[in-house]
């Protein structure tokens, strides 16, 4: 396959897709897009600016961006080695290990929050030793980042492991036979080749962290500027001011769209 064979390009050979495929495809697309359009129609544009720039909204947005960024960094720090180990080594119980790592993908986030509470909470598994060390996680921004990392990590691991597997090991083997040390091979060959997979994994992780709700509200609580992220603010505003909730939802959708578009563009430029 060459770069010029992009779908939609004139050079792309016609594959004769069966016509009926377009019906469910269009229905599916409509199912995803229509609710977003419906939300747009509900927005009170005359007050939109005031609603999204209120003090609580700005605090929630900046907290969401900061924590999502922090948890994406943590996902990369821990997720890249995890993906490499899963993709490049063989050890007994590997498939079980993979299933366990991916568990947060299928777990309801609230369950994740409860699990974190029983691990890092004051009365949790590690809670007592952490209190002795002077570490207080409950109701702090750290707890938000931990909750987001917990739910977002599998997205990065899955994307990157897939990219590493499809990429194959030929170049790494060549580098090794030429005398490169494992660290050199990892940093100079493996990582650069897997960069597109890593990028899309990081974007997915960031987007998941940005939308995180259940684990955060269960594990971290909700306080303006400290733990109340944008999704929590939206849920709370719904109680008194549905208009503000819809306006903030649009902000969340916009941020997610911008991040994804930027990443896609920078990747096509690679």
């Amino acid at each position: 396959m060459t770069r010029s064979s992009r779908p939609g390009h004139a050079a792309y050979p016609r594959l004769g897709l069966p016509a009926w495929v377009f019906v469910p495809a269009a229905l599916g697309a409509l199912f995803v897009v229509l609710p977003l359009v419906a939300m747009l129609t509900q927005i009170d544009w005359s007050h939109f600016g005031a609603l999204v720039t209120s003090e609580s909204s700005r605090a929630a947005l900046s907290l969401s961006l900061k924590t999502s960024l922090a948890s994406t960094v943590l996902c990369i720090v821990f997720g890249v080695p995890m993906a490499v180990v899963l993709a490049r080594t063989r050890f007994p119980g590997q498939s079980v290990a993979r299933s366990l790592v991916l568990l947060p993908l299928v777990l309801p986030p609230v369950v994740g929050g409860i699990a974190l509470l029983y691990t890092f909470g004051r009365r949790g598994l590690l809670g007592h030793s952490m209190e002795v060390l002077g570490l207080q996680i409950a109701f702090s921004t750290t707890a938000v980042v931990m909750a987001q990392t917990f739910v977002a990590l599998p997205f990065l691991v899955v994307s990157l492991e897939g990219a590493l597997r499809t990429g194959g090991q030929r170049f790494e083997e060549v580098a090794a036979t030429l005398g490169a040390r494992p660290t050199t091979v990892f940093l100079r060959v493996t990582l650069p080749l897997a960069l597109p997979g890593l990028a899309s994994g990081a974007v997915l992780a960031f987007a998941r962290a940005l939308g995180e709700f259940g684990a955060t509200i269960t594990f971290a609580g909700s306080l303006q500027g400290v733990t109340r992220t944008l999704p929590l603010e939206i849920y709370l505003q719904r109680e008194t001011d549905p208009q503000a909730a819809v306006a903030l939802s649009l902000v969340l959708v916009a941020v997610a769209t911008i991040v994804i578009t930027l990443t896609r563009r920078s990747r096509t430029a690679l």
Binding site: L36, A138, T166, S200, V203, L210
Partner: protein, 272 residues
């Protein structure tokens, strides 16, 4: 082939991410049960029958289920189904046309939203009241004895956010006592506050008397005199779009009857 995989990943990313961002707050409470169009009501005083859907505040779950069980025994032709959720969620669902016959709210504010939109068939009847109480983990590790103790430095206090009914009650008792509470978290609802106290994450929480009673020995309750500054009154009404007005009226009567009031009092609810 690698390129193909990348294209796939790139194409999947925005779709997935948007969906994910959206489902973060996907804790929508379920819509009430469908009341089928075959619902028949016997309005001429005969035996009641058909489906009856009750939308009630989450704090009424235990008591209404108990009253409902007796109601179904007294009227074997009636099948009850419930939707227990936050009162504001319930009003929003009723406004959007959710099929409901009876609505019981945890505060008058949300019932007013329903009456303002002419969604009720009868005048709301006040049937219970609830006040705040301090909940602490068993053994009371932070040695809380009064409302004033909640303002002590180092006490991890969890309350409801001012936007929700239990939070506005909290604000009222706070100003009645002349205190400035510094909670570590302002939760969405009473259940989340209670959860953090039960888990021992919080030293104390402000919840309703009925929540403390309902939690059994998982929390200890501490009453305080300033609680009388914020009394939540619970109204109940039948709804205009109900297809089973007779049964709906009978259910409201069951709640306000002596037997119904006894069930509510046993759970810690006060007189309206």
């Amino acid at each position: 082939m690698r390129y193909a995989a990348r294209v796939l990943a790139a194409a999947a990313a925005p779709v997935l991410a948007l969906t994910l961002a959206g489902c973060g707050s996907g804790d929508e409470s379920p819509r009430g049960g469908d009341s089928s169009p075959t619902n028949s009501s016997s309005s001429d005083g005969g035996e009641l029958e058909g489906d009856l859907t009750v939308f009630a505040a989450a704090s009424l779950k235990k008591t209404f289920t108990q009253i409902g069980t007796q109601f179904e025994k007294d009227h074997p032709g009636v099948q009850l189904s419930y939707n227990f959720a936050g009162s504001s969620d319930l009003v929003a669902q009723i406004q959007q046309g959710a099929p409901a016959d009876v609505f019981a709210s945890a505060d008058e504010k949300n019932m007013t939203k329903a009456t303002d939109d002419s969604l009720t068939a009868s005048d709301p009847v006040k049937f219970a009241s609830n006040t705040l109480e301090i909940a602490v983990p068993p053994g009371n590790p932070a040695k809380i004895a009064s409302l004033q103790d909640l303002a002590k430095p180092g006490v991890k206090l969890v309350v409801c956010a001012p936007e929700v009914p239990c939070g506005s009650a909290t604000t009222k008792v706070e100003s009645a006592a002349g205190l400035d509470l510094k909670p570590v978290s302002e939760e969405q609802n009473v259940t989340d506050v209670l959860g953090k106290v039960i888990a021992g994450e919080a030293d104390a929480g402000l919840v309703y008397v009925t929540d403390v009673k309902g939690a059994g020995d998982k929390v200890e309750g501490i009453e305080f005199p300033q609680a009388s500054a914020a009394v939540n009154v619970y109204p109940i009404a039948t709804l205009k779009d109900s297809r089973n007005q007779a049964a709906a009226n009978a259910f409201v009567e069951a709640v306000t009857s002596a037997a119904g009031q006894r069930v509510l009092a046993d759970a810690g609810f006060g007189k309206p």
